[in-house]
Amino acid sequence: MALAKITSFTGRAVAVPGNDIDTDRIIPARFMKCVTFDGLGEFLFNDVRKQLDGTLKPHPLNEPRFKGATILLSGANFGCGSSREHAPQAIQKYGFRAVIAEGYAEIFFGNSITLGIPCVTATREDIAKIAAAVEADPTLEVTIDVTKQEVRFGGQTVKGAIRESARDALVNGRWDAIGELIDGLPAAKTTAAKLPYLAA
């Protein structure tokens, strides 16, 4: 399966600040009553963005000036909690293509990479700089260079780190492992035959 090589991405950004933003907040459980991921984008951050009657609450994603942003900025331990892939799916279906945060929960990070969403890590100070620049000019273009592990915006460059296995997977177009895993199926059967509980 030929996958796109994700070496860098340029787009406008929006900051959704806060630490420990959990996947229940990213996509509340009631929207998981579905058998496909289609349509999840509409409910991204639903309960912090909308009142029960659907009217909008103050939230960065509700501000017209940030419409069309494709890079999400956030804080530490982003995506903690449930393993639901509905969370990165909602982020992607909403229109985001990349995330810059101080850190990620493990499962969320893995799920996102598998969907080809670069999740880069930057320091709090650097994220604040990007957020300030975007706040001053929401049309500012931000570039995430996955190959060089840096983020460029408005003439500034900061570090945007990404774990080597994920960086390799993105830039070499193997972020969805399924093709490689299928190639390894005969080897998997050999490994299984050596384990009593699977050989039986």
Partner: protein, 472 residues
């Protein structure tokens, strides 16, 4: 070289290295449920792939099932659609499904152990973050996303990077009225909600040696709340005694061979760890959360934090956000906080021993007026065990509604939900904003006996005082 259980299981299940440096890891046992699997089957169909090892995947239905309606079609058509989809997928791909009619249905993390499917020295994956529960048996168990569910269905493997291992030793005897739930709430409070990032937790020490399998499951269950991808306890005689005679446990001569294999997976004395943490069991108090993540916990006799108690800017921001959501008075005792709902159940504390312990204290007591109290067994088998012992009657006579098995109000994907800003004393594992089905609903996590104490007093209470608790 001496190795930890994690290393041994990882090595035994390594298929090969992938180009990006990750490992293609064989997943011995795959568990699925209705919420995170339908899209994975959809992806399989799109790719035209079969299920590689259909006999190694087991399904049940737990999140969306109503606990007060047994007959289909369910009132909620979306819930019924998910039920139908799982049934169809299992039938088409030849997967064993513990449907409600089987009498074996329940929360996936309760069904696996109960059936003897969860075994030591194995790898387990499930599209659910609390898969870490199965680590109680000395399995390495991963919660995964839906694309990985697809990977495991198609290849019985997935791509993973090895984890570091932190050994958490708890030694000594727990004080009266302190339970396994308090141990894990204490660990998360101490190490933080992301303290476990990149780690598997190995729980050890004399406290764990003395724990039953159900207590070990309660702790391993919430490893994920501490940020750890997996958590486990080394298998021992307690593990083997639990597994003996279960439907999927090895039988006859195969049993002895299996026990020998299982023993060989236990961590070697002298194994090296990336980190070691030691905790004295006697320092652990009945613990409750006050905020909006499971690390925001305090001992029952402590006061609700205020911004003045913040230890860092982050902590300060966290306290402000949590207090605003929880509508709790900063600096006041948590004890005495009025509750509206009491929930007993979930994959953390929905097992036989939980209901036994609670029934011991609820006997002859009454839920306080105006409190909605529900008790939801984690599986149909747990329900039956409780009913045989008459626990359901004791619990119902006290004023709890005795429901059918499922996840219920742990995440409220079924009709069991908080209303408005109701405050719930809950034996579940997550207190995130909106977790229990109302966008302004509030959750305080605690042990089942503490939930019972809150139910009968209508307030967050110290169960040791309410019930004159003594262990044993």
């Amino acid at each position: 070289m001496p190795k930890s259980l994690f290393q041994k299981v990882w090595d035994a299940h390594t298929v090969r290295q992938l180009a990006n440096g990750q490992t293609q890891l064989l997943i011995g046992t795959h568990l699925i449920h209705e919420v995170t699997s339908p899209q994975a089957f959809g992806m399989l169909r799109d790719l035209g792939l079969p299920v590689a090892f259909p006999h190694r995947t087991f399904a049940t239905v737990d999140h969306i099932v109503p606990t007060d309606q047994l007959v289909e079609p369910y009132t909620d058509p979306l819930a019924q659609a998910m039920m139908d989809e799982l049934r169809k997928n299992c039938a088409q791909f030849g997967i064993t499904f513990f449907d409600r009619a089987s009498g074996k249905q329940g929360i996936v993390h309760i069904v696996g152990p109960e059936q003897g499917i969860t075994q030591p020295g194995t790898t387990i994956a499930c599209g659910d973050s609390h898969t870490s529960t199965h680590g109680a048996f000395g399995a390495i168990a991963f919660g995964i996303g839906t694309s990985q569910v697809r990977d495991v269905l198609a290849t019985q493997t997935m791509a993973l990077s090895a984890l570091k291992v932190r050994r958490i030793e708890v030694n000594g005897k727990l004080r009266a009225g302190v339970y396994a739930k308090d141990v894990i709430l204490h660990i998360i409070r101490t190490l933080g909600v992301n303290g476990g990032t990149g780690y598997a937790y190995e729980y050890a020490g004399s406290t764990f040696d003395g724990f039953s399998m159900e207590e070990r499951m309660t702790v391993c269950n919430m490893s994920i709340e501490g940020g750890a991808r997996a958590g486990y306890v080394n298998p021992d005689e307690t593990t083997f005694a639990y597994l003996k005679g279960r439907p999927y446990s090895p039988q006859g001569a195969a049993w002895d061979a299996a026990v020998a294999t299982w023993k060989s997976f236990a961590s070697d004395p002298g194994a090296t760890y990336d980190d070691v943490v030691k905790i004295d069991a006697a320092t652990i108090a009945p613990t409750v959360t006050w905020g909006i993540n499971p690390g925001q916990g305090i001992a029952i006799n402590e006061n609700i934090p205020s911004v003045e108690t913040a230890t860092s800017d982050d902590d300060r921001a966290g306290i402000i956000e949590a207090l605003a959501y929880m509508k709790l008075p900063p600096g006041a005792p948590i004890k005495g906080t009025a509750i509206h709902v009491a929930f007993l159940g979930s994959c953390t504390n929905g097992r036989l021993s939980d209901f036994q312990e609670v029934a011991k204290y609820l006997k002859g007591r009454k839920v306080a007026p105006g409190i909605k109290a529900i008790a939801v067994p984690g599986s149909q088998i747990v329900a039956l065990q409780c009913e045989k012992l008459g626990l359901d009657k004791i619990i119902a006579e006290a004023g709890f509604e005795w429901r059918a098995a499922g996840c219920s109000m742990c995440l409220a994907m079924n009709p069991d939900k908080l209303i408005g800003d109701q405050l719930c004393a809950s034996s579940s594992n997550r207190n995130f904003k909106g977790r229990q089905g109302s966008t302004t609903g509030r959750t305080i996590l605690m042990s089942p006996v503490m939930v019972a104490a809150a139910a009968v007093t209508g307030r967050i209470a110290d169960a040791r005082e309410v019930f004159a608790v003594s262990n044993n």
